[in-house]
Amino acid sequence: MKILVVDDTEAILLLISRFVEALGHQAILARNGQEAIDVWRAERPDLVLMDVMMPIMSGPEAAVQIKAESGATWVPIVFVTGVGEENALADAIERGADDYINKPVNFRVLEAKLKAFGRTLDLNRKVREQSQTLADYYEHAEEEKRVVRHLMEQMVNSERLADPQFEYWLSPAESLSGDLIAAARTPGQALHILLADGIGHGLTAALNVLPLTQPFYSMTEKGYSISDILFEMNSKVRQVLPIGRFVCVALISIDEVGGTVEVWNGGMPPIQVLNAQGEVSRVCNSGNLPLGIVPSHSLDLVPERLYFKEPGFIVAYSDGLVEARNKQKAEFGLDALLATLAKSSKDSMIANVQAELSEFLAGEQHHDDVSLVVAQFGVDGLELNKAAPVETNVEKFEDISPQFSQTADCNWRYSLILSAQELRYLNTIPFMMSFVKEIKTLTHVQSDVFLILTELFVNALDHGLLLMDSKMKSDPDGMESYLAQRAERLANLQEGKIEIDLMGLKYKDSEVLKIRLKDSGLGFDWADTYNANDKSAIPSDSFGRGVTLVRALAMKVQYIGLGNEVEVYYMPPKAT
């Protein structure tokens, strides 16, 4: 140790410093309080041995100054006191001095005290180093969190979360959330909502849910079904996360055009379906393992399907909400959540749940991430993010058709022929949409093109090749058995072919899209009803709303030959 020895008596100064040096320490000297401060400033000794009564400045005064200047570094100050200095000494110790030793100095005691201070100083240094390391570590962690938070905000596109069809609430337990809410629309305007809960909370939980966002957005945009998206998300989670890590997922698809809601629940709390009065009409329990545990092909990815005729709500939440505990260790619970929702108007549901939970917790922090999604379905006149409404095409198709009757006049052409082998597994329409997206004249009408293509393709496959009977759908459980039978026939399909042609035909300064679809099936007797160009002539319900929709969107729908070939002309409305 480097020890500062302070005394105005030369003999004592010499005596003590020699002794200190004899013990193997380095001694530096000062002869009064002021000098002690100056030397301390210059030399920064580890310990100070100081007389109490000195000229110019006393020991206690110098001690106060040294203590004030040393800040976080601990400098032990030991007074060497004579008899009768007890008051000054007590005062000095109160103001920060550390110990004292009596005059005449007992060297055996001084040696012991120096050893004791040496040990404490070592300890002190270690603590300081560790706390410095800890502070560095903390800063580092905070910086990492900041980056991850930014990353998550970028990946979870909050613009798309602002949708009139649903409300959400997400409240992380720490600065990062392991719960994730994402939403996007398919080209056919079906709303996909993803609610995911990564294991634990904070940074690692947040990292767990990140791999989900990319397949969710990109595949939804291309029009993939939620089963396809789940397959991909599970593969991705398995690919990037270590064993023992998984993500609970609820994936919901609301299709207002088709009047269906699909729900897939893997490890999330039961998803509640409410009627317009806010009463529970159905519960979709978790029937699947969370994502990331087993390979995608061993997951059952078929969602629960609801056909709605009346408006209602879908409520999905993470366990952090119903398990939030107050001071008395009581849980908020599902009953409280449902009761709050039932008595709320549709615009105040989330706000009321927030208020109820915060009243219940009474200042207590929730220990896990809390998330809640309330989505509406079956609501008429809901302001959906549809493309600008189609302006009626003033020109009659008959008037303009001669101008592009020859296929040679097309700007571009995209042809595809699929045989049974490909049809069994290829998801054709999403696949073609990635092409359509790249055509400039079509980018703003992707939704229309998607709907027309989907309808024509489904008709060609279901009725042309698979010989399905649409009448089945009108039975009470018809849709389920229709889909089951369709899946079975598709799996066994051995023969058949579907040709698809997309053409961009030149017309004045714009472009008309011609879609031609031909299947190798037997066709149907179209001659009487189907080619009347009157759009209000809706065919009998065997063809349902699909064809009606195509007729409403297109300039002309024309069946050819046996009825297994159809041509549709579509003029994109001017982009607004």
């Binding site: 023992g244 490890g267 978790s286």
Partner: protein
């Protein structure tokens, strides 16, 4: 929580108690390690008799254990699950990949 181990012949029983969450992960891992490396044990039972709470990181630990146990060619079962534990296991559909008795 301090897990305890009982060995009866070729069966190793890991008895858990109280809260089974991330705070238990080090002790749980150590105990499981000792069972996995014991060549006499063929069947491992995780006993939830005294567990009143289970969270998602506990589920993660069980998945890890399952992985290691099958690598060591032993069998694994989760036993004596009470209602609250059963509920968590059911929501996660762990019945599909674990033997629960």
């Amino acid at each position: 929580m301090t897990p305890t181990v009982q060995i009866e012949g070729s069966v190793g029983r890991v008895i858990l108690s109280g809260q089974f969450d991330f705070s238990a992960h080090r002790e749980f891992r150590q105990v499981c390690e000792s069972i996995i490396t014991n060549p006499d044990i063929k069947e491992v039972l995780v006993d939830f008799q005294n567990v009143n709470y289970l969270d998602s990181s506990a589920l993660g630990m069980l998945l890890l254990l399952k992985e290691k146990i099958s690598a060591a060619s032993k069998t694994l079962a989760l036993v004596n699950c009470r209602d609250t534990v059963k509920q968590v296991l059911e929501i996660a559909c762990f019945g599909k990949i674990f033997t629960i008795r």
